[in-house]
C-alpha cells in the first residue's frame, strides 16, 4: 500500500460499506494527488462501483471518512461534491431521457459548474465537441444508442468542470477504433490537469492512460502501484484466474 501523499486531493480512510449483512467494502484506504490518473481493476463484485459511489457521495459509507481538497466531505451529498469538483459517470448510463443531448450537458454546466447562461452554453458545446457528440446535440437522449449514452455520460460529467473525474466503465463494448478515440479524449483531459479515477475491465485500454493501478477483490484493495507490477502480482493473478480450492 502506498503511503498517503501529503498533497492528496482525494483521500479515503477506513471505508466500510455494508448492505445488510453483505460487506461490499472492507476497510479501504485510498489517496491520490490532483494530477494522477488511477486505474481500478478487479473481478465482478469486487466493490469497484460501490467505492466510486461512496467517493462521489451517491450514498454514505457505513464507516470511514472521505476528504476532498483538504476538507471532510463524508457528510456532503453528491450535489455538493460535484460543485466542489468531484464528478462521476455511471456504469449504466443515466441520461436525462426526455431532454436533448445538449440539454443534458447544459444542466451540468449550469448547475454543477455554476456557470452563467452564456458560459454554460460554451462549456456544454465544448464538452459535446470533445466527446464527438455535436452531431447528435439535438437528439432526445432516450433515442441515443448505448455508445452515445456512454459518451453523453462523459460529456455531461465534463461540463460540470471537474478537478477530479471518476469514470465507471465508459469503455465497455467499444471497438478498437472507438477505444482509441476514448483514450485520446482522456489524454486531452490529462492535458487539462483533470485528475482521473477510471474503473475499466479492458485493461490494455486502461493502461494507455493510467500511471497507477489498483486491484480490488472482495471489498479490499489487494494491490496498488505501478501498473505492470500490479498486473504481475500473484494475488492479482489469483483473483482473476482463481487460486484453486482453499
Amino acid at each position: 500500500m502506498n503511503a498517503m501523499p501529503n498533497g492528496a486531493i482525494l483521500s479515503a480512510a477506513g471505508i466500510h460499506k455494508r448492505f445488510g449483512a453483505l460487506v461490499v467494502l472492507d476497510d479501504i484506504d485510498f489517496a491520490m494527488g490532483a494530477d494522477e490518473a488511477v486505474g481500478i481493476v478487479g473481478p465482478n463484485g469486487a466493490g469497484k462501483t460501490t467505492l466510486l459511489s461512496v467517493l462521489s457521495g451517491a450514498y454514505p459509507p457505513s464507516a470511514g471518512t472521505i476528504a476532498f481538497k483538504g476538507g471532510d466531505v463524508t457528510a456532503l451529498p453528491a450535489t455538493q461534491r460535484c460543485r466542489l469538483g468531484l464528478v462521476r459517470t455511471h456504469q449504466v448510463p443515466k441520461p436525462f431521457g426526455g431532454m436533448t443531448a445538449f440539454e443534458n450537458v447544459f444542466v451540468a454546466a449550469s448547475h454543477g459548474a455554476g456557470l452563467s447562461r452564456d458560459e454554460a452554453y460554451e462549456e456544454a458545446l465544448g464538452s459535446l465537441k470533445l466527446c464527438g457528440m455535436l452531431g447528435v446535440a439535438n437528439r432526445r437522449a432516450e433515442t441515443l444508442g448505448l455508445l452515445d449514452r456512454k459518451r453523453l455520460e462523459l460529456a455531461r460529467a465534463l461540463a460540470a468542470k471537474p478537478t477530479l473525474l471518476l469514470l465507471d466503465e465508459i469503455g465497455g463494448g467499444l471497438t478498437d477504433g472507438e477505444a482509441g478515440e476514448l483514450v485520446e479524449t482522456i489524454r486531452e483531459l490529462r492535458r487539462r490537469k483533470i485528475g482521473i479515477v477510471w474503473i475499466e475491465h479492458i485493461v490494455h485500454v486502461l493502461l494507455q492512460v493510467a500511471e497507477r493501478l489498483i486491484c480490488m477483490d472482495a471489498g479490499k484493495i489487494i494491490a496498488d502501484g505501478e501498473p505492470q507490477a500490479v498486473m504481475a502480482d500473484p494475488q492479482v493473478i489469483s483473483a482473476y484466474l482463481g487460486g484453486g480450492p482453499k
Binding site: 462521489s56 451517491a58 451529498p77 453528491a78 450535489t79 460535484c82 460543485r83 464528478v87 462521476r88 455511471h90 443515466k94 441520461p95 436525462f96 431521457g97 426526455g98 431532454m99 436533448t100 445538449f102 440539454e103 443534458n104 447544459f106 444542466v107 451540468a108 449550469s110 448547475h111 454543477g112 459548474a113 455554476g114 447562461r117 454554460a120 452554453y121 460554451e122 458545446l125 459535446l128 465537441k129 470533445l130 466527446c131 464527438g132 455535436l134 452531431g135 447528435v136 446535440a137 439535438n138 437528439r139 437522449a141 452515445d148 455531461r156 460529467a157 461540463a159 460540470a160 478515440e181 479524449t185
Partner: protein
C-alpha cells in the same frame, strides 16, 4: 470562440409569432366581456381556472415528474382560507390572493415530508394529505361540517360588478401564473426540473439541488392551485368541503394534461380548452358525459400517449411556447443548412473526433 461556433437557439420564427398571438388573445379576452353575455363571461372564468389547474399539474408532473393525485388539497385550502380571511373582515377579493399565499406557505412544511416519498408513494400520499385536510376543515365551526358556508361578504357587490371583477381577476391570475411558469421552466431551473424528472440520482451527480428544486416547484404549484380554488369559491360563492376537496379536481387536471400533451407547455393549455369544450357541449348529459370523458382518456392513452400537442410537436416539429434548447451548427461544406441530426453525419463527426 470564433464566429463559426455553434449557436444556441431558444425560439423559432413560429414561436415569436406565437408570443405575439398569445398577447393579442389576452388583450382580446380582457375586453371581451363588452361583447359576451353574462353566462358566457362566467363560462370563460371557468376556462381560465381550468387552464391554471392544468398548467400547474403539468408543471408538477410533466416537467418535474411529481405525479400527485392529491392536488385538490390546495384547491380546497385556497377556498377555505379565503372564507376564513373574509370572515375575519378582509375584503373578499383581497382574501382570494392572501389565501393563495397562505396555501403556498402551508405547502412548504407539507413538502418537507412528502418529497421524501417516491413515485406512487408520493401520488397516493398526497391523496391521504387531501383526505386528512378535508376532515380537519370539517372540524372548523365556521364551516359547519359538510353543510358548508358561503362567501357572504361578496354579496355587497352587485351581480354584474362581481362577475366582471372575478372574470378579470381570473384572467390576470391565469396570465401571471402562466408567465411565471414559463419563465421558470425556460430558465436554468427549468432544465434542472426536467433533469430531476428524468433521473434524480444523475441530476444530483451533476450538481443539481434536487430537494430544493422540487420544493420550489411543489410550492409554486400549490400556490397556483390555491389561486384556482379561491377563484372557484368566488364564482360559486358557496363552500362545501366535499365539493372542494373532491379528488375529481385532480382527475380533471390529469385528464386535461394527458389529452393535451404532458410535459409540453402548450399541451396543458390545449387540454384545458378541450376539456372546457367537452364540458360545455356534453356536460348536461349527466352520466354519459362522465363515460365520454373516461372513453376519451382511454383512447388518448392508447393511441396518442404523448397527447394532442405532443403528437403534433413530434410529427411536425411545432414549437410555439418551447422551453427547450436547439443547437445550430454553423453552415459548412458538409452542412449547408446549419441543420443537424442526420445519423450519417453523426458517424462522420465521430470519425473526425
Amino acid at each position: 470562440m470564433s464566429a463559426a461556433s455553434p449557436t444556441i437557439e431558444r425560439g423559432t420564427a413560429a414561436s415569436r409569432i406565437a408570443g405575439v398571438g398569445v398577447l393579442a388573445i389576452i388583450l382580446l379576452l380582457a375586453v371581451s366581456p363588452q361583447f359576451l353575455s353574462a353566462g358566457a363571461v362566467d363560462r370563460m372564468t371557468t376556462l381560465f381556472i381550468y387552464v391554471i389547474l392544468a398548467a400547474m399539474w403539468n408543471a408538477l408532473a410533466g416537467f418535474g415528474g411529481l405525479v400527485s393525485v392529491g392536488q385538490q388539497v390546495f384547491f380546497g385550502l385556497g377556498a377555505y382560507f379565503a372564507i376564513r380571511l373574509a370572515n375575519a373582515g378582509l375584503n373578499p377579493f383581497v382574501s382570494l390572493f392572501v389565501s393563495a399565499v397562505i396555501v403556498g406557505a402551508v405547502s412548504w412544511p407539507i413538502s418537507l415530508f412528502m418529497l421524501r416519498l417516491k413515485n406512487g408513494e408520493f401520488a397516493i400520499g398526497m391523496w391521504v394529505i387531501a383526505a386528512l385536510t378535508h376532515l380537519l376543515v370539517n372540524l372548523d365551526r365556521l364551516i359547519q361540517g359538510e353543510t358548508g358556508t358561503s362567501l357572504i361578504s361578496l354579496n355587497v357587490y352587485d351581480a354584474s360588478t362581481r362577475r366582471l371583477t372575478i372574470y378579470w381577476l381570473a384572467l390576470a391570475s391565469m396570465t401571471a401564473l402562466l408567465a411565471i411558469l414559463f419563465g421558470l421552466l425556460r430558465g436554468s431551473t427549468g432544465a434542472a426540473i426536467r433533469a430531476i424528472r428524468d433521473n434524480e440520482d444523475a441530476a444530483a451527480s451533476v450538481g443539481v439541488r434536487v430537494t430544493g428544486t422540487k420544493r420550489l416547484l411543489f410550492v409554486l404549484a400549490a400556490f397556483g392551485i390555491g389561486v384556482a380554488g379561491a377563484l372557484w369559491l368566488a364564482t360559486s360563492i358557496t363552500f362545501q368541503p366535499k365539493t372542494y376537496f373532491n379528488v375529481q379536481w385532480t382527475a380533471y387536471m390529469i385528464f386535461m394534461v394527458l389529452v393535451g400533451g404532458i410535459g409540453t407547455f402548450e399541451g396543458a393549455i390545449l387540454g384545458a380548452l378541450l376539456f372546457f369544450l367537452i364540458e360545455t357541449w356534453f356536460g348536461g348529459t349527466g352520466v354519459w358525459y362522465l363515460i365520454g370523458l373516461g372513453a376519451t382518456a382511454l383512447v388518448f392513452s392508447l393511441l396518442l400517449p404523448r397527447g394532442l400537442w405532443g403528437t403534433l410537436e413530434e410529427r411536425f416539429g411545432w414549437r410555439l411556447l418551447s422551453v427547450g434548447y436547439r443547437v445550430k451548427l454553423p453552415p459548412g461544406p458538409s452542412n449547408p443548412t446549419g441543420e443537424i441530426a442526420s445519423p450519417l453525419q453523426t458517424t462522420n463527426s465521430r470519425e473526425k473526433a
